[in-house]
């Protein structure tokens, strides 16, 4: 160690290592670095005492500050419960229309509604409420069972063909083909007739042949003009909305098999406040109109005539 070399320029010792004539300086660290290191060690002890730190056989050292992520979560959940209780109380006392008119309460109802809808309704109606074949689209302006706030709430409460005493949907669409009520040729003609009802090009001869069949079999429920009956949930055949599909194959299939949609009653499962929130959510997503168009409300409306 005695013959350590001093660097000419800086006057600092070198480490004695040399690479291609480049030597490494052995610059001492400033003393305060050492103090920072001691300080860090001291801090570790403070931390061990203050915070949860050391694992044991059946537990761990808790620390004097009592910090616990789990306790924090419980506190937050309690806070959330209190927040929900306050919100529920407000929902209970307000009418559906009042909820919708109060921006703060409406926002709360939308949050509750979205969560409940995602867990329960989205299975059939889709995550966004867009529906699918056989499952009504809840985003448009066509409502089998009425699209006002109170009608939506009623539908959620009692369901459709759900077994509930007041369930909607006592009328059913018969399976004309499967049950042998109509022949294949009649059903083919009737398909053309229904296509013509919705203002599309159809085989004129078939439409003429089916006129009497429609009057006998269909008009009782769908009306002589095919505009449906919202009171009984009978679809309007003249509009652009088709629950089971709009093409000829889909119409024929419905004539043959006569499917009838089912929606459960939610009265037993949800609190009245939750149903209110759900109704507000569904109503707002569909456009939030006080009285939306219904299946038969606008008789003979021409496609493409005006928007909503």
């Amino acid at each position: 160690m005695s013959d350590r070399e001093l660097d000419d320029h800086t006057g600092t010792e070198t480490t004695g290592h040399e690479w291609d004539g480049i030597k490494e300086l052995d610059t001492p660290l400033p003393r305060w670095w050492l103090w920072v290191w001691y300080g860090s060690i001291l801090w570790a002890f403070v931390y061990w005492i203050a915070m949860p730190a050391w694992p044991g056989i059946s537990g761990y050292t808790k620390g004097v500050l009592g910090m616990s992520d789990r306790a924090e979560v419980v506190r937050e959940l309690d806070g959330l419960k209190a927040h929900r209780q306050a919100g529920e109380a407000k929902l209970r006392n307000a009418s559906l229309q009042q909820i919708e008119a109060d921006p703060e309460l409406q926002a709360y109802a939308m949050q509750v509604g979205q969560s409940v809808f995602g867990d329960n309704c989205a299975t059939c109606h889709g995550a966004g409420g867009g529906g699918g074949k056989g499952y009504p689209n809840l985003r448009d302006d066509v409502w089998l069972w009425g699209g006002s706030l109170d009608q939506i709430r009623h539908t959620i409460e009692v369901g459709v063909r759900s077994g509930h005493a007041q369930a909607l949907g006592e009328t059913v669409m018969p399976a004309f083909g499967r049950d042998g009520m109509l022949t294949g040729a009649q059903i083919a003609d009737l398909t053309e007739y229904v296509v013509a009802l919705s203002h599309r090009k159809a085989d004129v001869a078939a439409v003429t042949r089916a006129r009497q069949t429609f009057a006998d079999q269909c008009a009782a429920c769908h009306g002589p003009a095919g505009t449906g009956d919202p009171a009984r949930g009978v679809p309007n055949l003249t509009d652009a909305e088709w629950l089971y599909g709009s093409d000829r194959a889909a119409i024929t299939e419905q004539l043959v098999n006569g499917r009838n949609g089912v929606m459960p009653t939610w009265q037993a499962r949800f609190s009245p406040e939750t149903i209110k929130a759900l109704a507000v959510y569904v109503h707002a997503n569909a456009g939030g109109e006080a009285e939306p168009v219904q299946a038969a409300a606008k008789e003979g409306v021409a496609p493409g005539a005006g928007g909503r």
């Binding site: 000419d8 600092t12 966004g128 066509v142 652009a240 021409a302 005539a305 005006g306």
Partner: protein, 501 residues
């Protein structure tokens, strides 16, 4: 042009009684002697100097401390419940207020721009005039200067301080040291205390602070800043600059031979040596080796060693040397703001030339002008309105009973003004489109009132007739107009056209 200074010869000089030696020099010598892993700090006792640079430093110190302490107390009337503090970083409300200017979090790029401008300005100033920031404006320098001033009040100037440090403990030493540390802590607390007023309403906070009602962040920030101020300005001082701060390294890259820096004009000073009154000045330099520049240096270096990493360009050695030069009857400015190039030129007997315009300074100036211009243009043209359209993605579109197609959007409209703004929202791009917001009748314009200083979410249903659905996706736009200002955002209208029945 690099001045090669041979330090090996000076090792012997450390403590050889020939006069004061710079702290840096002593540290080197001590490190060698011990061969230790750690180098203790060499205490520095800067001597008070008088002169123009010292006066500038005092003036800047007072000005900057005044700005720091007074700014949060300036009131500025704003409408409604908005804070009446001129400069406020409001984390709770998510706003930055600066007199008449208000920035929202999404406008933070103005702050980024300001930082870029500050960096470029620093580059330019450094390339032109050396590390002026370090010597005059850096908080570390300003507070260290203040702390040394306090130290001098209690312990006297350099020689008295050194005597006191060497003296055994006594009542006199105790009260001087104790008083100094108490005042230091007071200043440190004042520094940390003033900081937190930038983040909350100052009069409210100062009251809450003392009755224990202030937010925890205020107490923690105050404590941390008190501790760092006391440690950095009282104890660490030049070590912060030489070891911790990245600027000295970065700024080294900005300097060249033409940068004006505090320079010892060795062409005039060498060969140095003591000078007796009756001796002449022929055949020798002007430097009388009195070490006035060394003892005045707050960084503990010898400026005569040439440009160094430690030098913060504060110019105190200029004042110190000029005092001596006047006394010995030689011209001032043996140490002065000068360039390496000029010193070398004089050394060769040529006429020195100060060259401010160089490619480096030109680049920095152009970049600074461009960025400043861009930021200023952006700032002057920023709208108080802002609109964003979020289109519903599930379902992407809805077909209505009459075949019309509807898309739903949530518009986020920000009103950055201080007054409520009645606004008109329009949808363009698809002919025959109708707008409707819940609770209103369909129309081609939606009218809402935008509350001041808020973002308003507006649900808008856009319906187009069936025959307008010419493509699966139609380019469209929302525009909002309120008073004299407007804003627009692009979006699309989805029709699902190819799948139409």
């Amino acid at each position: 042009m690099t001045v090669v200074i041979d330090n090996t010869k000076k090792h012997a000089a450390a403590g050889d009684g020939r006069g004061p030696v710079s702290a840096a020099q002593k540290a080197r010598a001590k490190g060698d002697a011990k061969g230790g892993l750690y180098k203790p700090r060499e205490p520095i006792y800067p001597k008070l100097v008088h002169g123009p640079w010292r006066r500038i430093k005092w003036a800047l110190l007072i000005a900057m401390l005044a700005i720091y302490y007074v700014t949060p107390w300036i009131r500025w009337e704003r409408p409604g419940a908005l804070p009446d503090q001129a400069v406020l970083v409001d984390f709770d409300g998510g706003r930055f207020y600066f007199f008449w200017i208000q920035l929202w979090p999404q406008e933070v790029y103005f702050i980024t721009g300001l930082l870029v401008m500050a960096a470029l300005a620093l580059f330019l100033v450094t390339a032109l005039f050396g590390r002026l920031w370090c010597g005059y404006a850096c908080p570390q320098t300003v507070w260290t200067d203040l702390y040394i001033y306090v130290e001098r009040l209690f312990e006297g100037d350099r020689n008295a301080r050194m005597r006191l440090a060497a003296a055994p403990m006594s009542f006199d030493k105790l009260w001087r040291k104790g008083g100094k540390h108490l005042v230091w802590l007071g200043v440190a607390f004042g520094t940390g205390g003033a900081w937190i007023f930038y983040f909350h309403d100052a009069p409210t906070l100062i009251r809450n602070f003392w009755i224990g009602q202030a937010p925890m962040t205020a107490y923690v920030s105050c404590a941390v800043l008190t501790a760092t101020t006391y440690a950095f300005a009282g104890h660490m001082r030049e070590q912060v600059c030489t070891y911790m701060c990245p600027w000295p390294r970065i700024q080294g890259a900005m300097l060249d031979d033409h940068s004006l820096q505090v320079t010892y004009r060795f062409d005039r000073g060498e060969p140095r040596g003591p000078h007796k009154k009756n001796q002449g000045w022929e055949g020798r330099g002007d430097c009388i080796d009195c070490h006035a520049c060394v003892v005045a240096c707050p960084m503990g270096i010898d400026i005569r060693d040439g440009p160094q990493l430690e030098c913060i360009n504060c110019g105190l050695c200029i004042d110190a040397c000029d005092e001596i030069m006047v006394k010995v009857g030689r011209p001032k400015a043996l140490i002065a703001f000068d360039t390496d190039f000029a010193v070398a030129a004089r050394n060769r007997g040529e006429k020195p030339r100060i060259k401010l315009l160089r490619p480096r300074t030109a680049y920095y100036a152009v970049a600074l002008t461009l960025v400043s211009g861009l930021m200023l243009w952006g700032f002057l043209n920023r709208s108080t309105l802002d609109i964003h359209a979020l289109r519903d993605r599930n379902p992407t579109f809805v077909r209505l009973h009459d075949g019309a197609i509807r898309n739903a959007y949530t518009l986020k409209i920000a009103n950055r003004g201080f007054e409520p703004a009645p606004a008109e929202i329009r949808f363009t791009g698809v002919p025959g489109a109708h707008l409707r917001t819940p609770g209103e009748a369909p129309s081609d314009v939606v009218r809402v009132v935008l509350l001041p200083n808020e973002v308003r979410a507006v649900r808008v249903f856009v319906t187009i007739p069936a025959d307008a659905a010419s493509a699966e996706s139609l380019p469209a736009a929302f525009s909002v107009k309120a008073g004299g200002t407007d804003a627009a955002t692009k979006t699309v209208f989805l029709t699902g056209a190819p799948k139409s029945p």
